[in-house]
Each structure stands twice: as C-alpha cells, then as structure tokens.
C-alpha cells in the first residue's frame, strides 16, 4: 500500500502530540453537546441549585416532557417537518432539471447561469425575508407553511442545482446513450439508468435540505405569527421561557440534526467541496 510519505513522516515525528491535538479538538467539539444533554436531563429543581454537580445526581425526563407538552411545541414541530418536506420537494422538482442540464449539455449562457447561482448564495437571509414578508402579505400566504417553504426553497435551491449537477456528472453519459440505442427515450433512459445511480446522493441532498430548513430561524420568525416552525416558536417564547424549557428545547432541536448529519456523513465532503472547475 502506497502511503504518502510526507504525511507519514509527520506522524512518526510526533505521533503522540498529533493524537493529543486531534483528540483535544474532538473533545472541544463534543463536550458542549454532552453538557446540553446533561442540562436537558437534570431535574428543574437541581438546575437552579448552587453549587451544582456537572453530571445530574438523578437523570430525569421531566424537562423534556414539560417542553413537549408546552403550548405550541408539538404543533410547531409538526409545522417544521411539513415545511422541510415541502422544501425538499420544491427544491428537487425545480432544481434537479437545472442540475441535469448543467451536467449534460453545452449551451450559451451556461457560465453566466452558474455564476448567477453562486451569487444568489451571497444574499443575506434578512435581505430576502423582509421583502418576502411584504410580498406574502399581499399574496395572502403570509404565516403559512407554503410561505416559509418557498422562502426555504429559495435558500436551498442554488445548493440543490449544484449538488445535483455534480451527482449527474458522476454518471457517464455513455450509459444513457447506450439505453437510448436499446430503445429508451430520454425520459425512460433517465429513469432507468441515471436515477437509480444517483438516488443515494439525491437522498443525501434531500436530508441536507431538511436539516437546513429545520434549523433556519430568521426567515421563519419573520414570516410567521401563528403557524410557527419549531425554531421560530422557541425564538418567540425565548424571553418568557424558564431555563429548563430552553435547555430541553435546544436538546430536542439538535438531536435530529445530529442524527441526519451522521447518516449523510459520507457525502459531507462532496457537498461542501463543490467547485466549479470545468
């Protein structure tokens, strides 16, 4: 096995220090997550005592129960899931064809289109959310699932276009051509040949879109009043909430995100490392 010699030499020279450094960063990353889990599982009474032990003397699910049963939490969780689903659907339906076109065709304006897609990713969310709120009021979709979903789609669409383009690029066009000569048309060739090959990547892109939407708080808070998503609900009730509600809420919100990121861990690099090299 050919290992890169420059890398190996660095390891052997200070391998203890190396592992120590690597573990230190890992520890700094993990500790806060473990602490919020402890905070969420500490009973309310203990949370307010001083001095307080780091590991709760008795693990209790009371805070989480209190949080889930609190007014508006279940409904906003349901809204969040719904918004994320609609966002995934819209981004894939709208963005995947564009990704396919980018990967399969050479046409005038392709570079301009790519550049335009990249530029849209530079807009501050606040720049979109505030005019969209005014627009949605006029269109009567303010404070609706659809409104927030459209907003989240505009955030995730550029990403969906680029990621689907890179997925399609990995499926050689010759495979589709072969299917064409064997009696498929463009659509059936796509469905029978390309789609199954990119399905895992597509699923990962969908999960990523889900996490983005599930996490988004600024626009969701601006665009909703009654039909809040979970982050918008937590944000709106933040000042009036006791600490145990906040900690349980934080824990409740981050768990699905961590699980999903774990599922798509293999795709993390290719997702963020998208480059527009020719």
């Amino acid at each position: 096995m050919k290992r890169d010699s420059w890398q190996r030499s660095a390891i052997t020279s200070s391998s203890v220090g190396f592992y120590l450094g690597a573990s230190l960063i890992a520890l700094c990353t993990l500790t806060p997550i473990i602490l919020i889990a402890f905070a969420a599982l500490t009973s309310r009474a203990e949370l307010y005592t001083w001095p307080r032990s780091i590991i709760p003397t008795k693990f209790s699910l009371d805070n989480l129960k209190y949080f889930i049963n609190a007014y508006g939490v279940l409904k906003s969780t349901f809204n969040s899931i719904l918004v994320a689903m609609v966002t995934i659907l819209l981004s894939l339906l709208i963005g995947a064809p564009a990704g396919y076109a980018l990967s399969r065709f050479r046409f005038r304006g392709k570079e301009a289109f790519k550049l335009g897609i990249l530029i849209t990713r530079m807009f501050p969310t606040s720049l979109l959310a505030i005019p969209l709120a005014v627009m949605f009021l006029r269109w009567r979709i303010y404070d609706t699932i659809l409104g927030v979903s459209l907003m989240h789609t505009s955030l995730s669409l550029p990403f969906t276009v680029l990621i689907t383009a890179s997925l399609f690029l990995k499926v050689p066009y010759e495979l589709e051509e072969a299917a064409l000569t064997l009696g498929c048309n463009r659509i059936t060739a796509f469905i029978h040949v390309s789609l199954p090959l990119i399905l895992p990547g597509l699923a990962a892109a969908g999960i990523f879109t889900f996490v983005t939407s599930w996490n988004e708080v600024f626009a969701a808070s601006i665009l909703t009043v009654q039909n809040r998503t979970l982050p918008a609900h937590i944000m709106a009730t933040l000042e009036a909430s006791p600490l145990n509600f906040k900690f349980a809420g934080g824990f409740f919100m981050i768990i699905p995100a961590i699980v999903f990121i774990f599922i798509i861990r293999k795709y993390l690099l290719s997702m963020w490392g998208i480059s527009v090299n020719k």
């Binding site: 420059w6 720049l127 937590i234 861990r265 993390l268």
Partner: protein
C-alpha cells in the same frame, strides 16, 4: 430535431430561473423600494435618517464588523489545523472527521442554547470553576455590566458552531493538491513548516478564498446565538433588522438595515476577490 436539442437545456433551466426571478430578483428590488420610499413619497431618506439616528445603530455596525474580524482568523487557523489532521488519513481519521463535523448540523439557535447552558449564572462554566476551587462564587457573564464577557461568549459559540464548515472547504481543497508536489519537496529535504508555507498554503489559496467569502457573509448574518446569549445587549445589524421588523413593526427601517448589510457584504466579497487573486483555472468558488 437539432432545434429541439438546443432548446432542451433552456427548458430544463426555466423553472429555476423563474423561481429565482420571483424569489431573488423581485425581493432585491423590493428591498430597495422599501428602504427608499414610504406611503407618502416615492423617494425619501427618512428611513436612513431614522436608522442612523437610532441609539443602537453605531453599536450594531461596529459589533458586526468586530465579530467578523475576531472570529474569522480564529476559525481559519483551527479549521486549517483540523483539516491537516484529517488529511493525514490515519487509523480512525473518518471518526474524527465525523466528530469535527457534528456542529455542521446544529442550528444557530441550538448552538446559542447549548452555550447558554455553559455561560448562564448557575451554568457549567461557573460550576466547573467552582469545583476546581478557582471561583468562590458564581460570576455573571451575560449581563449589561460585562460586555466583554458577552462578546467572548458569542465568539466562542460561533467558533464552535461554524469552524467545521471552513474545515470541510479547506479539507476538500487539500485533497485536490497533487501529491507530486509534496513528494518533490521531500526529495529536496523540505521540513513540515516549509511544506505548509511554500506548497500547501499557496495551492490552497482558492479554497481559502472561498472559505473566507462564505464565512464573512455568514458571520454578518449571525443572529441566533446573539439573541439567545445577549438579547439586545449586543446589537448587530442582522438582529437590528429583526427587531425593527418584529418589535417596532417598521419594515422600512428593517429593509434599510438589510440593504446596508448587503452593501457591506458585497464590498468585502469584492475585496477578497481582488486582494486574493487566483488564477482562473483554480477558481474553487463557494
């Protein structure tokens, strides 16, 4: 037939273009409209004057810039070191990669709440310091009397939450560096520092540029941790835009803040592109 073939890509792009027209281009003009007009006049600078005259305005601009200036260099260094570590591909490096990447999935709000549990009065930081005998009694970190601590808490939260994104960008850049260069350097007897300074960093420039642009733009928009940890004690432009919309119910001034934020973002992006010039074939954008 040829005609259909050339029309097809445009047909496929149409939905995206139409969507972006409605949800990017139109809002962009609308935000300009909101900022410069009111019910009574087509053009007015009233909203700008109101923003400039607001007691939070100056702090908001200064804090926004200050945060970016402090956070981004720390992130670059930590992310670069983490990326170098992962790129060694030692036994278990994928496990480390996953651990380092966990905060990628955690929202601004979630990260804010996590660090609230640490920095609050009876929180973990005080508890740990007390049990180590360093503190006699709890220190109040998040109050108007300790602006430095508020800032520190926000910086730590942001570094913790957003460094993995920079790491992933740099790591994918590292993986594109051809091993030949480093092998050649080995032959000439280069040490580790020389390899980092003379080969890895220059070749990594496009990725560093992308990471800088993304991180700066995102740093200007940070909102969740600030609201959770500081409320309005640490005003930034994004949170002011939010408060003007939700509390004061004035979408005009909110739009003015958003517009100002975008202008600053554009100037900074442009200066990164100019000052960190990369060759065309290296453009590893975003």
């Amino acid at each position: 037939m040829d005609c259909r073939r050339t029309a097809l890509p445009y047909f496929l792009l149409a939905p995206t273009l139409i969507f972006l027209l409605f949800f990017f281009v139109v809002p962009l003009f609308q935000v300009i409209g909101l900022a410069f007009s009111s019910e009574h006049s087509i053009f007015t600078l009233r909203h700008f004057n109101r923003m400039f005259g607001d007691i939070y305005y100056q702090d908001a601009v200064i804090n926004t810039l200050k945060m970016a200036v402090i956070i981004i260099p720390i992130q670059l260094v930590v992310a670069f070191l983490s990326a170098l570590i992962i790129n060694k591909r030692f036994k278990g490096s994928t496990l480390f990669l996953y651990i380092y990447a966990i905060p990628l999935g955690i929202s601004e709000l979630g990260a804010g709440l996590i660090w609230l549990s640490i920095f609050t009065e009876k929180g973990y930081l005080n508890s740990i310091l007390y049990q180590l005998g360093i503190l006699k009694e709890a220190v109040i970190y998040l109050s108007y009397q300790s602006p430095q601590w508020i800032m520190t808490a926000i910086v730590i939260t942001e570094v913790w939450r957003a460094t993995p994104l920079v790491m992933i960008i740099l790591l994918s850049g590292l993986q594109m560096i051809a091993k030949d260069y480093l092998e050649a350097a080995d032959i000439f007897g280069a040490n580790w520092w020389q390899k980092v300074w003379l080969i890895i960093l220059p070749l990594l420039k496009p990725s560093i540029q992308s990471a800088l642009i993304i991180r700066t733009l995102l740093a200007f928009q940070v909102f969740g941790p600030i609201i959770v940890l500081a409320g309005r004690l640490f005003p930034v432009m994004a949170s002011e835009s939010f408060f003007w919309y939700t509390l004061i119910r004035n979408e005009h001034v909110a739009a003015t803040y958003a517009l100002l934020l975008m202008v600053i973002s554009m100037i900074i992006t442009w200066s990164y592109l100019v000052f960190l010039k990369t060759k065309d074939e290296q453009v590893g954008v975003l």
